[in-house]
Assembly symmetry: C2
Homo-oligomer: 243 residues x 2
């Protein structure tokens, strides 16, 4: 009952309209029921055409003000459009709440690993729906029931470093509740929820690398159960005891 | 270049003074250079005797006050002793900064999976040193150079669920810096640090389960480089843009 994480490399750039299910199936071994396919959000966003050419963007006065330390006002304009609110700002570095409810640097707007200097990649519009679509496409081709996770690498409060994090989930649990379970000593565990989808996303990030073309990974042997969405992983600030 | 995560199960309770290196070697395949052994903090703490019998604890007036909602004042007393400061409190639920600098619920003091109703397990006193000792013991027995991570499952701000997290690191990088690296499109990645040790801890947590006796996991095939400590993963509040 070991777990295996296989990189699913893809040759060349992922184009708008790319068939991600086909790319996953070409890159890896035949799928088995219970496999979990983790895709980088960037692969999903590119396939969904969630790319903006900054040369088409006219920055607002606010974006121009935020860019005064040397940031690109056009990129900041895109970040503001992708945001429900700016949580914190230091110069042109913005921590934003996205329209989905994720709190992350630059609202997830990313300039690295894009096919051109003036192109930025946004987060998918609805990453849970993206995961569900890819899952259905994999089921249609193979008859296999797998889980799909769309992952981003995100910073977090209190600790240094970014970490693979689930932003879209389908066919695999997001949170596993241990409430009411009994440990080997007969002690009843209090309500504890494990962020399984985030652990799977973090595990997959170990094979993604930032520099090679590995936009997806296959996790085999994780004894999954249940179903969930990435929305379940978002904790609203008013219910947060940490901050 | 896939990664494999093997559970290392142990029969019976881990006693004070237990030889964790021997338990790891008995439970798994022969080690290879570059393997990463992840141990739960609870296994490490038990072996190090970091267990408190609550029947020996006299709660302070502050602990009695914090326990007014039905918490155990003796356990809260232990939590306060393990804490540098209380970050937040809701009734008897305390988010604390431990003496190490970790910010976590109950200063990491845990009552589940202990061999008796009145026993609580503390975090190791110096988890980086614990990891280094276990690493040296594994090297002494096998001649292999491996990484060792001591992991806890911790909650975090902004997102629901606890997550395998590195609290002790030896012989494997904690943070991998992508600064100055060039992506496949020639775009220079800005300073980005990936919290590799946390990703490894999260991956290992997928095989730990809370209910079976799996206190350790072996991660094989992760192309590690460098060395680090868990202290590098702690971000001081005054340098935190998130909160």
């Amino acid at each position: 009952m070991s777990i295996e994480i296989l990189p699913l490399p893809v040759a060349g750039e992922i184009e708008t309209g790319a068939d991600l299910a086909a790319l996953v199936l070409d890159a890896g071994p035949p799928l088995l029921d219970g496999d979990v396919v983790v895709l980088t959000h960037k692969a999903v966003s590119k396939a969904e055409g969630r790319i903006v050419d900054l040369s088409d963007v006219v920055p607002s006065p606010l974006a121009l003000e935020f860019a005064e330390d040397g940031g690109d006002p056009r990129q900041i304009e895109v970040v503001l459009r992708e945001s429900k609110r700016v949580v914190r700002r230091r110069g042109s570095l913005l921590i934003c709440e996205t329209h989905h409810g994720f709190i992350c640097a630059s609202a997830g707007v990313d300039r690295s690993n894009t096919p051109g200097d003036d192109l930025v990649v946004l987060l998918p519009e609805d990453p849970d729906a993206s995961a569900a679509r890819i899952r259905e496409a994999l089921r249609a081709r193979t008859g296999r029931t797998v889980g799909v996770i769309v992952a981003d690498t995100m910073g977090r409060p209190l600790r240094n470093g970014i970490l693979g994090t689930a932003i879209g989930v389908s066919g695999v649990e997001a949170l596993r509740s241990l409430q009411g379970d009994i440990d080997p000593n007969g002690y009843e565990l209090r309500t504890t929820q494990v962020a399984i989808a985030d652990e799977l996303a973090a595990a997959a990030d170990l094979v993604f690398g930032k520099l090679e073309r590995v936009p997806a990974a296959l996790i085999r042997g994780y004894a999954g159960r249940g179903d969930g969405t990435a929305c379940e992983l978002i904790r609203s600030a008013d219910r947060d005891l940490f901050i």
